[in-house]
């Protein structure tokens, strides 16, 4: 079970990074979504995985009876899900605005701050 999960995480990573290395903003966006999932799963695996024992204290008890899943990564991931959602929304709107303003979604074409003609800075003084 662990092996398949590990491969899943690795492939999510690979897919996300591959998309993020693209030149087109939309692909980068999709890559960010996939990458977010990948990172969440990786954090999740760090807490070790267990089936059927959610970190919920049963009625009438003060501490959970027996081993339960690690609540800490879950709390972290819950935060991360919301943050990556907002991050994604921000990127999306930024991409949208950039496209409107610059007229391209190709990152190589976004040359407002550093026009291509400028070339690299001079080495002399």
């Amino acid at each position: 079970m662990e092996a398949v999960l590990a491969i899943l995480v690795g492939l999510f990573f690979a897919g996300g990074i591959y998309l993020m290395l693209s030149r087109h903003i939309i692909r980068i966006l999709l890559g960010v979504v996939l990458f977010g999932n990948a990172v969440n799963l990786l954090i999740f695996t760090n807490g070790r995985v267990m089936r059927g024992v959610p970190p919920i204290i049963a009625e009438g008890l003060d501490v959970p009876a027996g081993a339960v899943a690690n609540p800490l990564p879950q709390a972290l991931i819950l935060t991360a899900i919301v943050i990556s959602f907002s991050f994604f929304a921000f990127l999306l709107v930024l991409a949208y605005r950039a496209y409107q303003q610059i007229g391209t979604d190709d990152t190589d074409g976004m040359r407002v701050a550093e026009p291509v003609a400028d070339g690299l800075p001079p080495m002399g003084y």
Binding site: F13, I17, S22, N37, I56, V63, P71, F87
Partner: protein, 968 residues
Amino acid sequence: MIWMIVLPFVGSAIAALLPTNARNAEAWLAGVVTLVTLILASASYPAVAAGDAIRSNIEWIPSLGLNLSLRMDGFAWLFATMISGIGFLVVLYARYYMSPEDPVPRFFSFFLAFMGAMLGVVLSGNLILLVVFWELTSVFSFLLIGYWHHNANARDGARMALTITGIGGLGLLAGVLLIGHIVGSYDLDRVLASGDLIRSHDLYVPAIVLILLGTLTKSAQFPFHFWLPNAMAAPTPVSAYLHSATMVKAGVFLMARLWPVLSGSTEWFWILGFCGMMSLALGAYFAIFQQDIKGLLAYSTISHLGLITLLLSLGSPLGAVAAIFHMVNHATFKASLFMAAGIIDHECGTRDIRRLSGLFRFMPITATLAMVASAAMAGVPLLNGFLSKEMFFAEAIETHAISVLDTAAPYVAVLASAFAVTYSIRFIHGVFFGPLPTDVPSVAPHEPPFLMRFPILLLVVACLLVGTIPALTIGPFLHTAVTSVLGARTPEYSLAIWHGFNLPLLMSIVALIAGVILYLLLKDYLSRCEEGPPFFRRLKGQRIFERFMVTVSWRWARFVDYRLGARRLQPQLRLLVTVAFVAALWPLYSRGFTPGRFTLTGADPVFAGVWVLGIVCALGAAYQAKFHRLAALILLSGAGLVTCITFVWLSAPDLAVTQLLVEIVTTVLILLGLRWLPKRVQDGPTIASAVPGARLRRFRDLAIAVSVGVGVTLIAYAVMTRTPPPTIADYFLEKAYSEGGGRNVVNVILVDFRAFDTFGEITVLAIVALTVFALLRRFRPAPDSVDSPEQQRIQTAFDEAQPDRETGETIIDYLMIPAVIMQWLFPVIIMFAAYLFFRGHDLPGGGFAAGIAMAAAFILQYMAAGTRWVEDRLRVLPVRWIGLGLLLAAFTGAGSWLFGYPFLTSHSRYVDLPLIGDMPLASAIFFDLGVFSLVVGATVLMLIALAHQSIRRHRVARTIAAADEETA
């Protein structure tokens, strides 16, 4: 005593607020502040003279050994008096010197702040505090030197002074930290009591090197001396204050302060002896060849400070006495000379000695005063400079440590004294005597107002009094100061003018005569030579410094930018990913990492099936993302759902709920956004293969992605197959119910244990939502994406073709049944959200999930009835929800203050609510309510902002159509 430091800073703040043209108000203010400080200092003399240091201690960060502790002993008192006294005189002088056109309040504001910082340096009883004030003096001296910031020289000089003294300050901080480490305390008393401990410690040499780096840069000692002449671009009152009596004195002050602790070693002797001797000789030599009066005085200051440094290097108590004495003497005569130079500049418009001459006829009183002060500088008998110079000579001929330096000391001393005589005569003779000036901008120079001259007069009188009756004037004060530094090691010394015919006197006479002869020899050459000493003229510290700065801050930076920088996003990202990969790989490799045996057995087939599905989805999404975005999007959602199912199975119901809801909202957002982003169509085989290199690049990306994927797989596998160490999670599990009052541990962590994190997080969410809103506000889609989608066009065309149909009816017909269902679902979903919210503390659910579920209800309405319909009926003001949520969360957290608990402490109890029954109610639930409200507000705000674009689209389309008609 604290007032002596606070008052100048308060005065500075007030002066900064005064109007620019208030010329007298700020002078009065500064005068009163300095005078009160002086009175405060003087008033504390009896206590100081009694032998004990006055202390005042305010706890600041006691856990770091950092207290606001002040300490005034005789030495600090001497300096405090000098700083406030000369400060007052300089304020008086500056009142007349500064031109009304300049922003004078700014000058006095900086000036007072500088004075406060300087007093802080001398009165600090804690070394860290001392360093803080030390840095403040550097900063304010930067501001003061650069006061005329329209002048490039002033800017350069200020920057150079700040760079050099700032670097020194860093060294000093490091040195002080080392001392603190050795002694175990930063308290000055404890440090002063641990001399032997420090000297015998392994870290002694690094500590003194670092501390001396600070003091030598501050006191403009060789090889850091070059900033001082460049700082002469400052207004003259600044030079008179900073570069004679205070700023540069801070370095020698600290060396004398720590002298009992640090001195006496060979390293100390060599470093200080060498730097001091070089500064003494070279400073005096360079001073002869300066054409600028202030330049001459600056180099003379370097030379005199070199003398003090040399005296301190010797490690003999008598040397320390002479050093302290000379600090005072130098401050008096040099301050008055700077002021005289300022008057000359003020009256004649130039400070170039070649152009000035014969000024005695115009300003006899100033000339006389300057002459007396110069004589003190040259070490002429019956003036204070002579006394300390005699003591210096007496020390120079003593043998302290047998070495080249020690042997050379007397000769260098006589040589430098001769040079001092030469440049003093040059200053006086060149400026005040000779023919009438012909080449001077101002034709009729005259005596300055009495009050402008008064400070010089006072200082010169002090020079004379100390020079003639030292025992009656400076004697007791000097003794208090010396005793406070040296303690039991205070030597017998005599301040008498006449010690009989001895070697020091002979050396003085030789130096005087040699200096006069040298001046006579050089006179003609000096009157026409260019600035700078022969032989060394080309070797300018300033040039070296500039070269160095250019190399570091320009060439190296450019080199790094050139080599490692990229103008495109992809190479940067690629670099980032690669570096992260290598950084993760390296420790694993060096520690001998084995992921363990990789077995596929024991996998539940259903599990494996779902995960394989997830893998296919991720791969498909990556593959399809180029041209088939919708397909990629659907596959991506598939991957998200697999993540969600994973969470369900592996005991994380909270995550599953949130993930599912977020997945929905994300998909809707992408769908809304995709509509406005450019399409890419597959034309020909593929674009990638058409561009040479593009395919290669994709392969490289693929290789990077695959390596990272494999690495992460191995790490994840290795982590999962190892038993976990005990973690903080156990604590949370134990305390969740007993202290957090909730059964859902994840939710308790979020809203109680780690509520502060959650608070930060929802703040981020709020900021993002507002930014999205701001980005899209009053913003219209680009003309090329305003065309309706194909399906919509066909439907509209169909509607328009039928006379009995209205535009948009088809779509309404299509969606009739879903729309009814979705509208009916609205209250149901709200109920569901409430349910999620209330069970959150005990069962999976909570504010996040509930908030997003609620937002989903709004999304459904948009889908069912269209943007316009919803916007017409929407009564939710998302911005208020956001604000309310944030405030509620903050107030819940702050509420615990009322009961004397830290921020966000939670309280829980069971309440019996009618109808619902016994319900657990923790105060954290209000926090969660804030989270809920904020999440709803933020999500709905983003949705509205994006969806509203479709309404704007119609407007854009109409304007385009109108424009087309006009052109047609």
